[in-house]
Amino acid sequence: MALINSRSSISQRGRETSPHTLGQNSTQRVMNLVIMATIPGLIAQTVFFGWGTLINVLWCSLIAMGCEAAVVSLRKRSVSFYLSDCSALVTGLLLGLALPPFAPWWLSLVAVSFGMVIGKHLYGGLGQNPFNPAMLGYVLVLISFPQEMTTWLPPLGLEGHNNSLTDALFTIFPLGQGVSVDAISMATPLDVLRENKSLTINELWEANPVFDGLAGRGWMWVNLAYLAGGVFLIWRKVFTWHAPVGMLAAIAVMATLFWSGTGSDSHGSPLFHLLSGATMLGAFFIITDPVSGATSNRGRLIFGAGVGVMVYVIRAWGGYPDGVAFATLLMNMAAPTIDYYTQPRTYGHRKANKGLPKKD
């Protein structure tokens, strides 16, 4: 008579401990917020570089969900349970944003499926992957198909800008007559700057229409859009400010240190670096991936700074025009070490733990 019969969590699920009430936070909510926050950037990219980006995003998301579902069902788990956390969707989305707008369908397929299957699920699935899956896929295709990966389209306001939906669709998917990517492709500002050997910065800006204002034409707005999305996420407490600020500050500091004026050997101004390429996308959407990043706030600051330094180093002296993907992967490798040395000081302890536990 004294038993509580209507629901006994104890009998059904084993005894569960407190707390009995949970916050509103959920993985799904986090992922949804991230997806929402990419919308300004997505719009900006679509406006400046045509429909290709949007098509890529949709296509990549589809592949990512498909890969996730396939692997999960192979592992005999509940597909709906895993898809519901939207983490696959985010991976696909970010890859779609990072790939060139007219990247052919198979390029996306290779990048996304590699990232999802090899980069994520072979390590044990969500939460277990040491590397950012999206960046793994990106780097794979960047190394394997450098030509396809470096053909960016002319931004809005330049000759050759293509804002035709059918062109984009048929270029990505060979279903009909697309456009010749080679014919319309154009180097990115970072690429132009890196290749520049003779012109001063001012001359370069005047000579090349790809530059405009502080950074590249269109690129500045794309980056600012991602910045807005990122600030929104910080405001919604999806992640803390530490990693993005660390990365942006490190890029700014590096760019300032190695600015060396406006001569032909210049690597570009700090603002140029902050608003070019994938800087903002990386700072707010890539390196904030909690799984492959550092865990403590101090660690994130260091992690972000490391990425920032690495990005600048690759941009200035490396073999690739942009280095967000490489820098992220490199710092992913360092994350566990960072974690070991940035543990917070526990309440009541005089010093924080450092390194591995001592064996005696």
């Binding site: 084993g14 788990r77 509940s78 349970f81």
Partner: protein
């Protein structure tokens, strides 16, 4: 020729000097490490039950130090084997079934009404955990009993039984949350020891 002699001489001198330094260091900076037998003995559960085939934990520790298998200790179970493997830097193996199964902790219990006071169990107990005198009823100090089983056999009236240690409100503790099957948690084939 002379040069060769110089060279040999120099090498010889170097050898002597370094040898002397090393010899000095080995004496002066000798680390009094815990002998390996002690370390192994530390890990063994000290039930002194002899299920390993040795007359106590220390003899088994010595045997392990001399190369015997580490999986002969049922009271210690897999945890002990793993710790030993860790210490000795070898692969942990499953418990050797020949020496017994790992079971819940038990303590001896004397059905006192049946005890005839023969003191045989007292003599058998390796840790002096049985209290009693000749012709007097015996009883087990359950806090000290290691559950080694050795008193059961000598009892002429079979009045000793091994009882599993009951969990009380004071010894109860939470268990790790059960993985939710088929969802994010483990599925049957994921369990430790079953993965291929």
């Amino acid at each position: 020729m002379e040069i060769v002699l110089y060279a040999i001489g120099a090498l010889l001198a170097l050898a002597l000097i370094f040898g002397a330094i090393l010899g000095f260091a080995s004496i002066r900076f000798k680390v009094e490490g815990n002998p390996i037998v002690d370390q192994i003995n530390e890990i063994l559960p000290q039930t002194q039950c002899g299920q390993c085939g040795y007359p106590g934990c220390r003899p088994y520790a010595e045997a392990i130090a001399n190369g015997d298998a580490i999986n002969k200790c049922p009271p210690g179970g897999q945890a002990t084997i793993n710790t030993l493997a860790d210490l000795l830097d070898v692969e942990p193996e499953p418990l050797d079934a020949e020496h017994g199964q790992e079971s819940v902790t038990k303590v001896a219990f004397i059905r006192e009404a049946e005890c005839i006071g023969c003191t045989k169990c007292i003599q058998a107990c390796p840790v002096d955990a049985i209290l009693g005198a000749a012709k007097q009823m015996h009883t087990v100090i359950s806090d000290e009993c290691t559950g080694c089983d050795l008193c059961v056999e000598p009892c002429p009236v079979d009045c000793i039984e091994m009882r599993p240690v009951d969990i009380t409100v004071r010894t109860w503790s939470w268990e790790l949350p059960q993985p939710n099957h088929g969802k994010a948690g483990l599925i049957a084939t994921d369990r430790r020891g079953q993965t291929v």
